[in-house]
């Protein structure tokens, strides 16, 4: 930042453009910060939009090529359903083709990412999903050969396999080796393998089961009527739907996550707009005389407004241009590093490429410009409104601020914000939660001058001359201070809110992990894959190992409860008879069913939000094609799944489904037994155990927290950047404000104040303003934090958390802010005092 040089007006070059452009060059620092903030907002929003467009595009392409020309598809639980439904469907008169598909996420030994493997009947599939038919220039019979697997080009690439190579799939704990017979015609980028459906049933141990029937209706048939007719005849737990609804459902899975990041972008844009506002407000005040001169020279009010808005637009354009470039690079980097779902695992298997769409780019560019123009609007109107004659006189700056003072809009906004927190989500998005936050922010900022006047008016007069003068200045000219105050409040409240939310989440997660990881050693067959499992035989052998005090096993299945929603996880767990819920991280009361009532079920909080489950209520779950009744015995907190999950007792699950396999084991060790030794024992004694993933509760806990930190690191790093920019903007504005008062300092020097006294006056002003800002920011941030925890998070992710304010961090932030404000005030004061005393007052004619 530089001291404003006195404008050297030559009548010969006195054009409005010069008058306007010159000051832009004079406050480069503030300008740069404003541009940066806009750039960040645009970059974040644009990057999110690009990533999301890519992800959705990829996903819809994948759905299209997988669903092909299907009009309808029948789906059910992840484990599939009885194949005998297929001939029944195929025989319906309105059905032209029914194509049965067995779909599994096959675990690949030694690899983290599972491979989606489809078993198809090539004769049927070719009529519905031609892209699923392998290219067999050599031998068409490979489409039927029982060892043949066809890979999508993307899968062959990522697995580094060529035609003729072999790929092992893990089934149970053992491996099945398949020959890569060719590539699929599928052009999409999804990772996919296709084999004969009979071969898949045999190799993947799914005899008699299929997971999907794709249907093409006869031409001219009423698809809706066919859908209704099919649905009426389906066993419970199966649905028939148009392939597009699958796309919508998956899109809704990622939406909450996406919207949260988009809001970050909005926060950055808001900060940017606010910075433009404060910079322009100050700049207009400082150029009051210049602008008045322009009016005298014949520039109309409208012309004045236009030119000031053009200034804002210029800032916005610069920021938006930088933002677009940065956003594109950011999106490319994110796609490269995490994939289109930002590492959330929802678009598993898609490896997309980035496309910048000119319309989207134009939209975000316009958004950046618009925010900056909006930020300039208040200042522009104010400058135009001023009477030229009055404004040409020195000391008129205060009138500019005096106008920003009515109280009722702020109060109204705050009240509206409070009302918004009570509203539910819109289409799964906590829209009103975000609106509430925005209203509270803007409302508080609007109230700032009034609050400043009131609070400073209430303070007792201190003895020290500097402090006394500082207070007098703040009481006499609260509008000036209000701009700085608003900047502090905006930055600090967002910082506080985010800090409170992250800390609350992390501490709640920590406590939750303690509850859900009571055993010493955990084994699981694999992430994502649904071909790997522990057989009853494996279970018995693990439980019988010396050193294992108790072994509990878990089976996870995915049930489709509602066609419009993603599948719900069913966890079949061995729970102790006497206190089955004791091991679960329950929220609220537990009420075990009375004797004779349906068996107990513990539902996650998402089940309450999404399906309206209530404790004590009897609910029905489709298990193995039949509706089974359960009593909701309690609600538990599940930080692992957003889409809902239920826990039932494993013996009950086995009785209902006949499925005796499990996917996870929790081992309680005898005193003195070491997890490492037991693990070694398991690897040595159980064939295929090398394919098991394992971890002690400590390791899993550490890993989970690491994943948490990594997932949120990106989010919070960006948030921190936005807030930091706000802080820099604050300090530069504060500095500018002080510099604008150089005449006042000259006067004070004339009446005998020392530089030291003026310095301490400025320090006191800085401290007072920032202290008030911190207090207000903390209060506002606290409220916003509560909205984030109880409204935004709850509605986005359907889980609750306890409030855990990070006192230490908040205190540190507050101290840093006060220090920064004081130092800025002092430093600016020193430079303002550097101006020659006589020259400073000479301007005051």
């Amino acid at each position: 930042m530089r001291a404003p040089a006195a404008p050297t007006l030559s009548p010969l070059v006195l054009s409005p453009a010069v008058l306007f452009l010159a000051p832009l060059g004079q406050h480069k620092g503030r300008l740069a910060v404003s541009v940066l903030a806009i750039a960040l907002g645009v970059a974040l929003g644009y990057a999110m939009q690009l990533i999301n467009a890519v992800a959705l595009n990829e996903f819809s392409q994948a759905v299209r090529s997988l669903a092909g020309e299907a009009d309808l598809e029948i789906r059910g639980p992840r484990a599939g359903f009885d194949e005998m439904l297929y001939p029944r469907v195929a025989r319906l008169a309105q059905v032209a083709v029914a194509s049965p598909v067995l779909e599994v996420e096959a675990k690949l030994p030694g690899r983290r990412e599972p491979l989606r493997v489809l078993g198809v009947d090539a004769f049927r599939a070719v009529q519905v999903q031609p892209e699923l038919i392998g290219n067999t220039s050599a031998d068409r019979l490979d489409l039927l050969r029982q060892d043949a697997l066809f890979l999508s080009p993307a899968a062959a690439d990522s697995l580094d396999l060529k035609v003729g190579g072999r790929l092992a799939l893990q089934v149970g704990l053992s491996e099945v080796s398949l020959r890569v017979a060719g590539l699929l015609r599928a052009s999409g980028r999804e990772r996919l393998g296709v084999m004969d459906i009979a071969a898949a049933q045999l190799a993947l141990n799914r005899m008699g089961r299929i997971s999907r029937i794709d249907i093409r209706a006869r031409s001219g048939a009423d698809v809706a009527a066919l859908q209704a007719r099919l649905q009426a005849g389906l066993p419970p737990g199966l649905i028939v739907e148009r392939p597009q609804s699958n796309l919508q459902r998956n899109a809704s899975m990622s939406r909450a996550y996406r919207v949260n990041l988009n809001v970050l972008a909005l926060v950055a844009l808001f900060t940017g707009g606010f910075l433009v506002f404060s910079a322009q407000a100050l700049s207009v005040v400082r150029r009051r005389a210049q602008l008045a001169l322009l009016r005298v020279l014949g520039v109309t009010r409208a012309g004045m407004v236009r030119m000031l808005l053009a200034e804002g637009a210029l800032i916005g354009a610069a920021g938006a241009a930088i933002g677009l470039a940065a956003g594109y690079l950011m999106a490319a980097a994110v796609l490269q590093r995490f994939g289109a779902d930002l590492g959330a695992g929802e678009f598993r298997g898609l490896h997309p490429a980035l496309h910048a769409d000119p319309w989207t780019s134009a939209l975000f560019f316009a958004l950046g410009v618009l925010v900056a123009v909006a930020g300039s609007l208040a200042a522009a109107l104010e400058a135009a409104r001023a009477a030229p004659a009055q404004a040409l006189k020195a000391g008129d700056e205060q009138t500019a601020f005096a106008r920003l003072r009515p109280a009722w809009p702020g109060v109204t906004l705050l009240a509206l914000g409070a009302l918004c927190t009570a509203a539910g989500p819109i289409g799964g998005i906590p829209l009103f939660g975000y609106i509430a936050i925005a209203l509270m922010l803007v409302g508080t900022l609007a109230l700032m001058p009034r609050l400043a006047t009131t609070v400073f008016g209430l303070l007792p007069r201190p003895q020290d001359a500097g402090a006394r003068l500082a207070l007098a200045q703040l009481q006499g000219a609260p509008g000036q201070a209000a701009v700085s105050l608003a900047a502090i409040v905006a930055s600090f409240s967002l910082m506080v809110a985010m800090a409170i939310m992250v800390a609350s989440f992390r501490i709640s997660l920590d406590g939750w992990l303690d509850r859900v990881l009571p055993a010493d050693l955990y084994l699981r067959t694999g992430i994502g894959g649904d071909t790997a499992y522990l057989s009853p035989h494996d279970e018995a052998r693990i439980a019988a190992l010396p050193g294992v005090r108790r072994a509990e096993f878990l089976r996870i299945e995915q049930l489709l409860l509602d066609p419009g929603k993603p599948r719900v996880a069913l966890l079949a767990r061995s729970l102790p008879r006497d206190d089955p819920g004791g091991r679960l991280p329950l929220v609220g009361d537990e009420r075990l069913p009375r004797p004779g009532a349906p068996p107990p079920l513990w539902a996650s909080e998402a089940m309450v939000d999404l399906y309206g489950y209530k404790v004590g209520e009897v609910v029905q779950l489709p298990l193995a094609g039949q509706l089974r009744r359960f009593t909701v015995a309690g609600i538990w907190r599940d930080y692992a799944r957003q889409q809902g999950s239920v826990i039932i007792q494993r013996d009950r699950y086995i009785a209902y489904s006949g499925d005796r396999n499990s996917t996870d084991a929790a081992l309680y060790l005898a005193p003195g037994a070491s997890p490492a030794a037991i693990l070694q024992e398991i690897r040595a004694r159980i064939p295929g155990a090398a394919n098991l993933e394992s971890g002690s509760s400590g390791e899993i806990r550490a890993r989970s927290l690491h994943v948490f930190d990594r997932t949120f690191a990106v989010t919070y790093a960006l948030e921190a950047v936005a807030v930091l920019i706000g802080l820099f903007g604050l300090s530069s504005n504060f500095g500018a404000l002080v510099l604008a008062r150089s005449r006042e300092f000259g006067m004070l020097r004339h009446i005998g104040m020392t530089r030291r006294q003026i310095g301490s006056m400025l320090a006191a002003e800085g401290a007072l303003v920032s202290a008030l800002g911190l207090a207000l920011g903390l209060a506002l941030g606290w409220v916003i934090g509560l909205v984030l925890i109880n409204v935004v998070n709850r509605q986005s992710f359907h889980w609750s958390m306890e409030l855990h304010p990070p006192w230490g961090l908040l205190a540190l932030l507050a101290a840093a802010l006060v220090l920064l404000a004081t130092l800025t005030a002092l430093a600016s004061g020193r430079r303002a005092l550097g101006v020659d005393v006589v020259r400073a007052v000479r301007e005051d004619w």
Binding site: A90, L141, D196
Partner: protein, 349 residues
Amino acid sequence: MAMIGLVWLCASAVAQEYAQVKSGHELQFPRDYGSHPQFRTEWWYLTGWVKDAKGRDLGIQITFFRNRPLVAENNPSHFAPRQLLFAHAALADPANGKLLHDQRAARAGFGLAEAKEGGTDVWIDDWSLQQTDSGYRARIAARDFSYALEFKTTQPVLLQGEHGLSRKGPLPAQASYYYSQPQLAVSGTITVKGESFAVSGSAWLDHEWSSEYLAKEAAGWDWVGLNLADGGALMAFRIRDKKGGTFWAGGSLRAADGRVRVLKPKEVSFEPVRRWRSPRTGTEYPVAMRLRAGGLDLDLEPLLDDQELDARASTGTIYWEGAVRARAGGKLQGSGYLELTGYWRPLRM
């Protein structure tokens, strides 16, 4: 005989797992009307000439193929592709200018597609061919047309070759079991573009099964089956080598009085008279032929030139299967179907 190598089964499967055609084996009916799933390839081939009420001539073809690919014999899955079924159907209407045809393919199973043993009963979804008390019934719902036709038997079964064993090459294993049902009386309904009309005429059924049909030197065959105007029946074929020469030939002539004369390779000759090039595939077919067989000297002239059938989506090949008239010295002697295979690409069976 007839048709088309299920290119599906190209040569790689191990022949010893299949049942073999053996000389001295007597065909038994009704058992041998049905499917023979132990053999590699089998087909039921119906071709015929019908007239509508206005006297318009139409050619009809309905074919069901069965194939045992020998790739999943031990898989207990209901989906195991132990038997594959294919079907072609075609309607030759000179007014249309080209053949209308459609095809089906499926693995046998779930009652959706089956070829039953013990009697002719084969179907894929809503395409079916079944034996009835008086003959056969076919139901075909193709893309451009549909058939609901009855085929009444008027003559006894005609065993081809030596008591139903038809040699296809010099080696004893290069043979099929083969019988025909000539002079079937056709009646029923054809629907084209939503318009149904009654038809009647005469047809020919071939049923043939084998595990080693075509020698590897062979590229394809020319085959003809004619219902003669006097009530007789003539079947003649030649298997061509890769240069277009005759690798093997044979046939039979059943006179109106029922006496059967089996034709030796030297007694059959096909001589192209006119060729037609397919505008779609560029393949050239000798659609008009001079046929000398069993003392008959016949000019074969197609009902229309374009009777090419693209079966790449099912059996994996393209061939010409067309209604033809047989004349001698300008005088109509009979009508039937001519089949020309291996002209697009050499057939492998």
